[in-house]
Symmetry: C2
Subunit: 195 residues, 2 copies
DNA sequence: ACCAATAATTAACCTAGGTTAATTTCTTCT
DNA sequence: AGAAGAAATTAACCTAGGTTAATTATTGGT
């Protein structure tokens, strides 16, 4: 597929951030990744210092503890920019993996080179800052929910926030997003049903 | 105190972010806040849409649940930029309060006006983006610790990360940073001592 | 130096959620 | 449609951390 054509699917996304990106000008080489449902774009511990554009599909950010317990940090639906800010910016290993929950199509650029080419552009910088604000605020709100609400409440919130996911992804993934085991979630659902 | 002189104490902070801010050019009116130990710069639920410069002192970000349980999101030591990105950017109520743990001196600007005046400056935008990256990464790492480590481990990590705070702030605040009750922390310490 | 207030410890008891394992339901593949 | 695997439910039991409350330090103000 043609590169410009592919990237054009992100026009709306950037417009929403108040920016009109000029893909022609960008000479950094692009990669394309086709990830099948269940497979990983990258795994926890990799050096994932690239910027990824999720063109189609659905992914989750998942980190697993030493004891093998999974935690789903967030879900992302196309069109969306994905990746690890930390790994990109500090060139360190990434703390989570990205797993496709549906077959997904992703393009990517090496962050350092991409940024070097775009940082001349004030519009881009403003857009990038806005993007960072947005993901930071999302984390702030999620942290808040974890601290202030019970698991039951977090489940109810999940159902309200992601109505389209509720019946599409397996319950164990919902549980790992809420921060409990599938068994505990099943118990909560049972309790809710009895009302 | 003279405004420029006051702000100059942040020169080093900005240099570290690769930027040399020109305070002369900034005409937005500045406020000064002197907060005594224990008092709040702002409370959870306020509209704190300002950018704050912590010139001297030490603060904590604390949010309290409906049941009155406190959670310390983070500590900040001068010199440091503080405030709520969410409340500044979206003009919504802030999800946490900022409490002084030592007598603190803070200057502030209304974010919207400050940003309007600075956004012309590419250097500032890069610096702002770098700042956002930094606080985002800190949150990412903290989330990681919460998900992957036990309370005992989190306490040990706190002691390693904040050696200077360990004997300065009350233990209940350490407990609320770790996400447990003071009673539970006391138990953990007892267990560690017996070794 | 003393008092009052605040913080920390300890103990007894409670609860949400974890663990293991058996059973049932849903998917997916041929 | 039927078999094999994966997901969800349920039950019995366990544990980290919460709750309450009594006891013992610490701290700060006069």
């Amino acid at each position: 597929m043609d590169r410009i054509q592919l990237q054009n699917s992100f026009q709306a996304y950037f417009n929403e951030l108040g920016y009109d990106i000029d893909w022609q000008r960008l000479t950094v080489p692009m990669d394309v990744h086709v990830i099948r449902k269940g497979d990983y774009l990258f795994q926890q511990g990799d050096f994932a210092n690239r910027l990824y554009f999720l063109h189609s599909g659905l992914v989750r950010y998942v980190s697993v503890s030493d004891e093998g317990k999974e935690f789903t940090q967030t879900f992302a639906k196309s069109p969306r920019i994905i990746g690890s800010t930390k790994a990109m910016v500090t060139e360190t290993r990434v703390l989570f993996g990205i797993q496709a929950l549906e077959d997904s199509m992703i393009s990517s650029y090496p962050w350092r080179a991409f940024y070097e080419q775009m940082r001349q552009d004030v519009g881009f910088l403003e857009c990038y800052a806005k993007f960072l604000e947005r993901i930071f605020i999302a984390k702030e709100e999620r942290e808040n929910a974890f601290v202030k609400h019970s698991a039951e409440r977090r489940y109810l919130d999940f159902c309200a926030d992601y109505p389209e996911l509720k019946n599409v992804i397996p319950q164990q993934q919902i549980a790992s997003y809420i921060g409990i085991t599938p068994v505990a979630l099943s118990r909560i659902r049972q309790k809710l049903n009895r009302r």
